[in-house]
Amino acid sequence: MPYREKVAWLSLVGMAVCYGPYFAVTHQSPLLDHPLPNFGLMSLFAAAAVGNAVWALLGRLLVQMKTPRDERGAADERDQAVDRRASTVAYYVLIGLALYVGCVLPFTTTGWHIVNSMVASVVIAETVRYAMIVLGYRRGLR
């Protein structure tokens, strides 16, 4: 398995493990109705973000130790093509979600619901990017 595919798998699992519980807990939570400063919600988000950072750091160290040095050098043209396609798809996902959050949610909800939805949009777009990277390596690019 290519080094960058391993990293994408790692990131994909990290997103699910760290941000999944965060959104499961905060979705429809009374925390979203608290005024500023909403330390309860912010603490949960900080825990998810720090958890994801630690996961990524430790995971990369492990993947690097198990991957030969010459296979984790600079990205070659296939790595770049896979990343380009994944980023393009994720970009359109992010644009779609951002338009929804910015143009629809202000008329249907308020405050932290909108903030949390924007955070979710970024997380979803990143998750789609990692998933597309994995798919790019698995199914190939022609």
Partner: protein, 81 residues
């Protein structure tokens, strides 16, 4: 022009080069072993530059290493009357 795919003879040419490894070929043209494996398996179409480099390693013209295959038997887009 649509509906075709690129086929290649890299596996055969590696064999004829004294069983050159994917890693050696990858190193010679500046890509990873996995990328050579993906090219051989038809899961990735290399850039024109990489294709020329691969052909150069084997000392062959490009069309002896890569062929464009359409659905029609024995035809390539550039060869139709």
């Amino acid at each position: 022009m649509t509906g075709g795919r690129i086929e290649n003879q890299i596996r055969t040419l590696r064999f004829l080069q004294g069983e050159m490894s994917q890693e050696e070929l990858g190193r010679a043209i500046g890509v990873t072993r996995q990328t050579i494996a993906a090219i051989e398996a038809g899961k990735y179409s290399p850039s024109l530059e990489a294709a020329f480099r691969i052909a150069g390693v084997f000392g062959k013209p490009l069309d002896e290493v890569f062929q464009w295959k359409t659905g029609e038997k024995g035809t390539a887009p550039g060869t139709r009357g």
